[in-house]
Symmetry: C2
Subunit: 348 residues, 2 copies
């Protein structure tokens, strides 16, 4: 191996010199342009090999006027929800020849600034949940960077993809009422996120339709520990059913109930949302969401928007989509004709 002047990476100039050609030729040889002779290409390849050259993508991107990268912003990655979305996004973006930059805002005080910075590094950006405010979203949209909002309240002129919450929550509520449950408590914060608001709304609506009062509401963060805490409080005067904003919380409530000597579903019903793996093993009735598809759809929409943008300046009308969700009935909501063996299994 040749003596490298420094531990610095080789540039196209060194490859050119080594191969005895110009940088233009190197560039063409590496990009499979048919404008170079086979023999030249071979010489360039040899030089690349010898110098262990890897093109600096910054230079390339700057020259091409595109980052060849997309970004995705999410609050967290604990629990399968966001991870699956990110995975779907990465998979689709990657197929479209784009790298993926991630940004978790969880607990960051400078989230808005970080997102703005990210916007300057990508050709398109997906923003999930309650990570940044509408102002930031609008200001990014104004810079011309294509944007897709996921599971987040829509903003004027910006594409949005969400999952169905209200209708499936209503379905869930109807199921619980059919089990004879009347005193139902919602654990989660309708104010915190539009998804949560929709879930609560669906529940409340169905109860009202049955002449029942608006269900109690216990705001709570979305992990097992928070569920256990709220659950313990509820056990002082257990309701018929506890509808939780997500599975982690529901599993926490489940634990708290058992700890208090109450049996699920005999003494009270508990339901979640997301259908995490653990829900299956805890026999938890929940709602499954097409998370992977959510991410993949975002990546594809962005790709389309980016193409449109380079084609012309006309601003198309914003797209909206609501992906279907599905109720997954297991033991935790009450006894069913065919009981599912403990502690495993479930029905899809």
């Amino acid at each position: 191996m040749k003596a490298l002047s420094k531990s610095k990476a080789a540039t196209i100039y060194e490859v050119a010199r080594h191969a005895g050609v110009s940088i233009a030729t190197v560039s063409r040889a590496l990009r499979d342009s048919d404008l170079v002779t086979e023999s030249t290409r071979a010489r360039v390849r040899a030089a690349v090999e010898a110098l262990n050259y890897t093109p600096n993508q910054l230079g390339r991107s700057l020259a091409e006027g595109r980052h060849a990268a997309n970004g995705i912003v999410f609050p967290d990655l604990t629990g399968p929800y966001y991870a699956e979305v990110v995975l779907g996004y990465e998979e689709a973006a990657s197929e479209l020849g784009r790298s993926v930059l991630i940004l978790a805002t969880h607990g960051r005080r400078d989230a808005e600034a970080a997102v703005l910075d990210l916007a300057g590094r990508v050709d398109g950006l997906a923003v999930m949940g309650n990570t940044v405010g509408d102002d930031t979203v609008r200001s990014i949209a104004a810079t011309g960077v294509p944007l897709v909002l996921l599971a987040r309240p829509p903003v004027d002129g910006v594409d949005t993809i969400r999952t169905r919450n209200e209708r499936t929550a209503a379905e869930l509520a109807a199921h619980l009422l059919a089990h004879g449950h009347r005193r139902i408590v919602f654990v989660g914060d309708p104010e915190a996120a539009p998804d949560m608001a929709g879930r609560y709304a669906g529940l409340a609506k169905t109860m009202r339709a049955h002449g029942l009062p608006k269900p109690d509401c216990r705001p709570c963060s979305y992990d097992v520990e928070a569920g256990e805490r709220i659950g313990a409080q509820l056990m002082a005067d257990p309701p018929d059913a506890v509808v939780c904003a997500n599975d982690e919380v529901a599993l926490g409530v489940h634990l708290a109930a058992e700890a208090a000597g109450r049996s699920v579903p005999h003494d009270l019903a508990v339901t979640g949302w997301d259908d995490v793996l653990a829900a299956r093993f805890a026999g938890l009735t929940t709602v499954s969401q097409p998370m992977r598809e959510l991410g993949a759809t975002a990546a594809r929409w962005l790709d389309g928007r980016i193409a449109e943008r380079t084609a012309g300046p006309e601003r198309a009308t914003p797209r909206r989509r609501v992906l279907p969700t599905q109720l997954v009935v297991r033991r935790s909501c009450g006894s069913h004709p065919v009981e599912i063996p403990s502690p495993l299994g479930g029905t899809a």
Copy 2:
């Protein structure tokens, strides 16, 4: 490459013109240099606001000679294992002022090329598990891009972080033997990954120490379905214990056992690895790993290497670290003095 001044993002030139200053001044004003008057800075800020300017990070990075971004390569993101590592990595990198590029190689035939490309987009790269071969690793290392390998066999001269496998597997094996289990089967592929090899080795070693034959080994992919399949086969002639390469597989075997009318742990013991949330609810004995810390450590090491590299060309000796893991005993490995209530709970 048509220059439509319309939907194109604003550049530093337009801001400069709008503010009536040079681009150098704009740059300084935005970077909080103390070389600009307050009044000038205000004028620049106003122009930025008016034009909704966001600096193009490509230009900036190219000029600064750094990407201000790190990459991480992993096979997949299903299950909490990789997700947690990525999260820890992102968190630490983000604190150090670096963005994070992700690349999932799962199922990609052009993984090596994609990783090489990624290497040209970052200042440092973490590579997890069996994503790319040693050749690719060496060739990236040769370009001078700092590299850290995670849960992967070491390569000459490259930093590596792993989690303890063999010793904890031996501990687990001893525990199973203490329960009286003698016929033990390992579900997983020691050939597939060094982590798996370590787990099998620890198990085999302990069994040998007790005068028992080398355990049977059932190669298998690492999801619930694969576990169910292998589990169903095993139920024809159930062993005393099934040691699984990870929790998903163990949960699958668990399901298969129940489906075949066998009870865990009464008829057979089952153990996993990773301590996923579902393991807690299935009462699965498993091993917990510091995944978050694995990722965070990688990010910090890379930051250090990047700093060293810009400081001087001297090549430091590669670092190695093995992070501790912990046996988590629950019901699934056999009856314990204090039985844990079903179907929840566990001991940490």
